[in-house]
């Protein structure tokens, strides 16, 4: 196989942080190369440099044997290297078609005007080609959900027919359908003799999709595994530099000891997102909720927290209705949103600001006066309990890794001693070590009698952690599955699609 990507002795620092330390990496035609490692290991940095997003401090790059110096991501894309980034990369205020052909609108000019008809037709074809024909090319991008915006980015890259495609942690934002679209694109590229560099925290996914797998840790390449060498524990050990102690998911199969219903939803309706939806959450239970992207599970989380009001139906906590977010918090409900950076955290604020804000009524005097000593003690307790890696509680959240940001989002609600936690994709973009810590924390909370509604797009997570799983489809409850050793992903998927 011909070497298409070649990186040698690449180094990169952000201030005093060494992001890449003398990294050598190569990828070949006709392969899907996986990159895996903990948050901050350097996966996104090395690929983003190759895709023209930023510059390296040292090192050389070759593309098809020639020196490679892309001036921007657009330049790289035009020359054959495309990247789909982890976070949102679309412009919300313009149409889907304009996003797909951003920077190329000149080629659609007809005199002083833009030929919108041709632009929309071409964009629609690009969407159809990747299997995202359900998206209307003329629609304003900001009206679409996270998954569809991601699919637009994929279409934008694929219309340029790249020889190398970098997929950075994209699948965590996608439901099963979205994932299938991206897997089929990746497989087709490999079959056509092109190259895919695939970054994911999902070990099962990366092991099933990739031909070879390179592990990074602390900005260094640790090891590259060939397909026949793939072995879960060996990869995990390479990633974290030690053997993972204890269980990943919980290993018990007992029913919750308590039978008391803490949250009850009856006949909830909200557009096509919730259709006559009813369920009960018991004390000391982890209740999983899964489904495809538009099934309504994320809306359900927001409704139960009082952030959206259903058109009809009721939901109560200990028999009393929830009327607003404020009311939900008074009833000891906590909510970790899926979109961490925009909904769960204020990035430009400190760890202290973020954790304290949800608990002001807990440590302020008469719900009014804040004493710094009490506030610091409150925040420090959560930071210590969650082992947040930071220079101090006054550190800005924007400077934390994804996993530690997620811990801060958890810390907001743990400090309030929430009795009911609604967790929407709580391990999205989180590395394996932090993931395990979060699972252990959830299990500990369950055993302490707290109730958790775990909304997740990862079937393994739902099966591994939930006492019961509710499968949603088109806003309806399709199936309720009870925890069992025999429950497989196939059992779950059949009710989703």
């Amino acid at each position: 196989m011909k070497k298409i990507v070649e990186i040698t002795h690449m180094s990169k620092r952000f201030g005093s942080t060494v992001a890449l330390d003398d990294v050598d990496l190569e990828a070949y035609e006709g392969e899907i190369r996986g990159l895996i490692g903990e948050n901050g290991s350097g996966k996104s940095t090395v690929t983003s440099i190759y895709a023209g997003m930023q510059k390296a401090d040292a090192g050389t790059m070759l593309f098809e044997g020639k020196e490679w110096h892309p001036s921007s991501m657009n330049d790289a894309l035009k020359k054959g290297v495309g990247m789909i980034v982890q976070e949102n990369g679309t412009v919300p205020g313009i149409s889907v078609a304009e996003n797909i052909y951003l920077g190329e609108i000149d080629s659609y000019k007809k005199g002083p005007f833009v030929d919108l008809g041709r632009l929309n037709r071409d964009a629609q074809k690009a969407l159809d080609d990747i299997g995202a024909g359900h998206i209307n090319a003329a629609q304003i991008t900001g009206m679409l959900d996270f998954q569809d915006r991601k699919l637009i980015e994929i279409a934008k890259v694929m219309v340029n027919d790249p020889k190398v495609l970098v997929v950075d942690e994209t699948t965590t934002a996608l439901s099963q359908k979205g994932r299938e679209i991206i897997y089929s694109i990746m497989n087709k590229m490999r079959d056509d003799g092109k190259t895919v560099i695939f970054i994911s925290h999902d070990l099962d996914e990366i092991m099933s999709v990739c031909d070879r797998l390179t592990v990074l840790r602390d900005g260094k390449i640790i090891r590259t595994f060939d397909k026949e060498e793939f072995e879960e524990n060996a990869i995990k050990t390479s990633m974290i530099g030690r053997e993972l102690q204890g269980n990943y998911y919980r290993d018990d199969y007992e029913e919750p000891a308590e039978k008391e219903t803490v949250l009850k939803a009856e006949h909830l309706n909200l557009g096509n997102q919730l259709v006559d939806f009813s369920f009960e959450l018991k004390k000391g239970e982890i209740l999983g909720v899964g489904g495809l992207s538009h099934c309504g599970m994320h809306t359900l989380g927001k409704v139960l927290f009082g952030a959206m009001m259903p058109q009809s139906g009721t939901f109560t906590v200990h028999g009393k209705p929830v009327t607003s977010i404020h009311d939900a918090m008074k009833k000891q409900i906590g909510y970790v949103a899926k979109d961490r950076d925009t909904e769960s955290l204020s990035l430009d604020a400190s760890i202290k600001d973020n954790i304290a804000i949800a608990g002001l009524d807990k440590f302020s005097i008469k719900n009014f006066l804040i004493l710094p000593s009490k506030e610091n003690a409150y925040v420090k307790k959560q930071a210590d309990a969650l082992s947040i890696k930071c220079a101090g509680i006054n550190q800005y959240v924007s400077a934390l890794s994804g996993g530690n940001k997620q811990k801060v989002a958890f810390g907001k609600w743990l400090g309030r001693e929430s009795e009911i936690l609604i967790l929407d994709c709580p391990t999205r973009g989180v590395d394996i070590g932090v993931k395990q810590a979060m699972y252990q924390l959830m299990y500990k909370m369950r055993n302490e009698g707290k109730s958790i509604l775990l909304i997740s797009e990862e079937m393994a997570e739902l099966i591994g952690m939930s006492d019961r799983i509710l499968i949603m489809k088109d806003g309806e409850l399709k199936k309720e599955l009870v925890r069992s050793r025999d429950l497989s992903e196939a059992d779950v998927i059949q009710y989703m699609i």
Binding site: T17, F305, A307, S344, S346, D348, A349, A356, A399, S401
Partner: protein, 319 residues
């Protein structure tokens, strides 16, 4: 990590260092030009106090990531109402009460309208600016002598002292610092400014907080209009016309992030207003005309915003 910490600290103290440098330059030029330093200092304080008071209150609005373009017009209307109240009653206390009440009511209307119609608050302040300008003309037309409304100078001469103004400033500043840093309200304001959606999903009532921020700012505007009457008892349509812009420039010059949020600081108002007044004085001592002086201020304003924003960009580099 340590480097970032040092950089953050530099950005935090840069406005204070800037103020000290300007003060040193002022002293140097005052000595060279043989200018009466105590008299000039008194002048600087007289000029700064009103802007500092108004800017201190306005910090609550800017912290939310919003702004109020009608501050100057609000001040003019409130001063006119205060002057009319004095002329009817002969009481300075009534004048003070009328100024503060009027300013708070105007701020309240702005923020409540924004809350009722779900509009960004600055949109209602633009509409309010037009209404207030019309109000100024009506008030002067109905109650003034020609183009002005006057309070007898001897009625306010006793309180037209630097000491009194500093007392008002210190009291208001102390209240604002306390609210901003030690009350739940201040914390919530800062959090809303950082990320309104996250704040909403953490149970904060963004509309209620905007209303409270405007009330705090209204008190500052009311006090500012009261001090304006004591300093210049003859009020015209041009009274406080430049205050709105001076407040914006001062706040930014004092190190306040343009987007508001957790990095907002009350002292930005004090540091910024003093710095701007010192800068004006220095340029006056250098015999630069007011046109050049305005240009220098504009350039510095853009530079400060650029530097603060470029630092923010670096903080958000992909990891």
């Amino acid at each position: 990590m340590k480097k970032q910490h040092i950089k953050d600290m530099i950005f935090r103290i840069a406005p204070i260092v800037g103020l000290l440098i300007l003060f040193a330059l002022f002293m140097v030029f005052a000595v060279i030009k043989d200018i009466n330093i105590p008299y000039s200092m008194k002048n600087i304080l007289n000029q700064s106090v009103i802007v500092i008071v108004v800017a201190t209150g306005a910090i609550f609005i800017y912290t939310l990531g919003s702004f109020d373009i009608s501050l100057g017009a609000n001040m003019c209307v409130s001063a006119l109402i205060g002057a009319m109240a004095y002329n009817r009653t002969g009481s300075v206390l009534v004048m003070l009460g009328a100024c503060v009440l009027c300013a708070v009511l105007i701020s309240l209307v702005c923020s409540v309208l924004a809350s009722v119609f779900h509009l960004p608050v600055f949109v209602t302040t633009i509409a309010m600016l037009s209404l207030l300008n019309a109000g100024v003309l009506m008030l002067i037309g109905a109650n003034g002598t020609g183009d002005i409304v006057q309070v007898p100078a001897d009625a306010v001469s006793a309180i037209n002292t630097v000491e009194f103004k500093l007392l008002v400033l210190c009291l208001y500043l102390a209240v604002c610092i306390f609210v901003f840093n030690f009350l739940k309200l201040g914390r919530e304001e800062k959090f809303v400014g950082g990320n309104p959606e996250c704040a909403r999903l953490t149970g904060l009532n963004n509309s209620r907080l905007a209303i409270l921020a405007f009330i705090m700012a209204g008190i500052g505007v009311g006090l500012g209009s009261f001090l304006t009457i004591t300093y210049a008892p003859t009020l015209s349509r041009n009274t406080a016309s430049s205050v709105g812009m001076d407040v914006i420039i001062s706040i930014v010059f004092g190190g306040m992030p343009v987007s508001g949020g957790a990095r907002s600081k009350i002292y930005s108002a004090v540091v910024g207003a003093l710095s701007m007044t010192l800068l004006s004085q220095i340029m006056l001592m250098l015999n630069l005309n007011s046109g050049i002086s305005q240009m220098v201020k504009a350039i510095i304003f853009i530079l400060v915003v650029y530097i603060s924003m470029s630092d923010n960009k670096k903080n958000n580099l992909p990891r």
